[in-house]
Assembly symmetry: C2
Homo-oligomer: 204 residues x 2
């Protein structure tokens, strides 16, 4: 089987095993991709969509706005073919020398400093957090202060310290977001959500 055929068969299996669900067709494209990435059906219960999230994400992609990720893993996991089609790009600031320097000087973590550095680039774009709760919490601060204005926040940090709390804080806001309840998540999941949006953006 070719990779495309394997993916189609995987989606068919997921559809069958998932059965009936609460998602719109657009939302299901994203949740199904998350299940495909993790083989974990728990996301069916825990994923949360802001009502304007998908529309905002598709508009950002189709307008060629930047996608910013908190990790290199999320960055490399995002499909380049569709990005090129929309003349969009994906950037991660975590290893930029200026970040390492400003994090040291300010007492912020690198994950936090990378959010601040991304402010000019994220305007009307998509901010993707797959790993660091500190990055998501810093982004929420900047958004509340009106200093950062991404069109969509994909917030899926994973872990045992503040991951669930940072996502709960995101879900509480009226800011367009795709996120989930609980500790699970990850850069691979976050990249998967972007890839599902990219695929949808190429369709009508």
């Amino acid at each position: 089987m070719k990779p495309d055929e394997i993916e189609a068969l995987s989606f068919k299996i997921i559809d069958e095993e998932a059965g009936e669900h609460r998602f719109s067709p657009h939302e299901w494209n994203i949740v199904r991709r998350m299940i495909h990435t993790s083989a974990d059906f728990e996301y069916m219960d825990t994923v949360r969509f802001h009502p304007k999230a998908i529309e905002a994400g598709l508009k950002a992609i189709r307008s060629g706005k930047a996608i910013i990720t908190d990790t290199e893993m999320a960055r490399v996991g995002i499909r380049k073919k569709e990005l090129e089609y929309f003349k969009s790009s994906v950037t991660c600031f975590i290893h930029a020398p200026s970040i390492v320097k400003s994090a040291g000087a300010s007492g912020m973590t690198r994950a936090q400093a990378a959010v601040d550095a991304a402010i000019p680039f994220m305007e009307n774009g998509i901010y993707v957090v797959g790993n660091a709760p500190t990055a998501l919490l810093r982004l929420l601060e900047l958004v509340k202060e009106g200093k950062a204005r991404p069109a969509l926040i994909i917030g899926l940090p994973v872990g045992f310290v503040n991951a669930a709390e940072s996502k709960a804080a995101l879900i509480e806001t009226d800011y367009p977001h795709i996120s989930n309840i609980g500790r699970k998540g990850g850069s691979n999941l976050a990249a998967g959500v972007v890839n599902a949006l990219l695929k949808m953006a190429t369709q009508k």
Copy 2:
């Protein structure tokens, strides 16, 4: 909290919630890292270690042998600091132009062709499969034919088509491996296993 402190607290929480378990201290370093990466305690039940796996992995790392991954996500997820310390390196062939070409010519998938291309580099090193069952199945073929001789296979492909089957085939062998039962896995998990080994390799 600094990142190191967050990690230490995460490990403490995992230790507490995991309670008693069947793993040796070395094995637990790896399983705990997998839980840290995924927030999924199911790995406690599903991970499988070949009895010589950890020893083989530590020896490969300390000897500066190459680490080969099937995905860019796994490659960038592996800690560079410890790799440099051991004068080791991590390589992924999936996007190499020669792979794209030979996959097209031979009818193999790129994931399969990338395994063949890695044969000269994997000798006594570590082969990491975090995504493609086809890569793991091809690697097992080459190993059985005596054509490929990595010291350790980390086999954690994820998904609904042949992921569980390819890992079951690996676990059946007497070849040093770290793998798991079932559909779950992923490049982030696979990178986490390597990172746990790298950390251990720096200790006595």
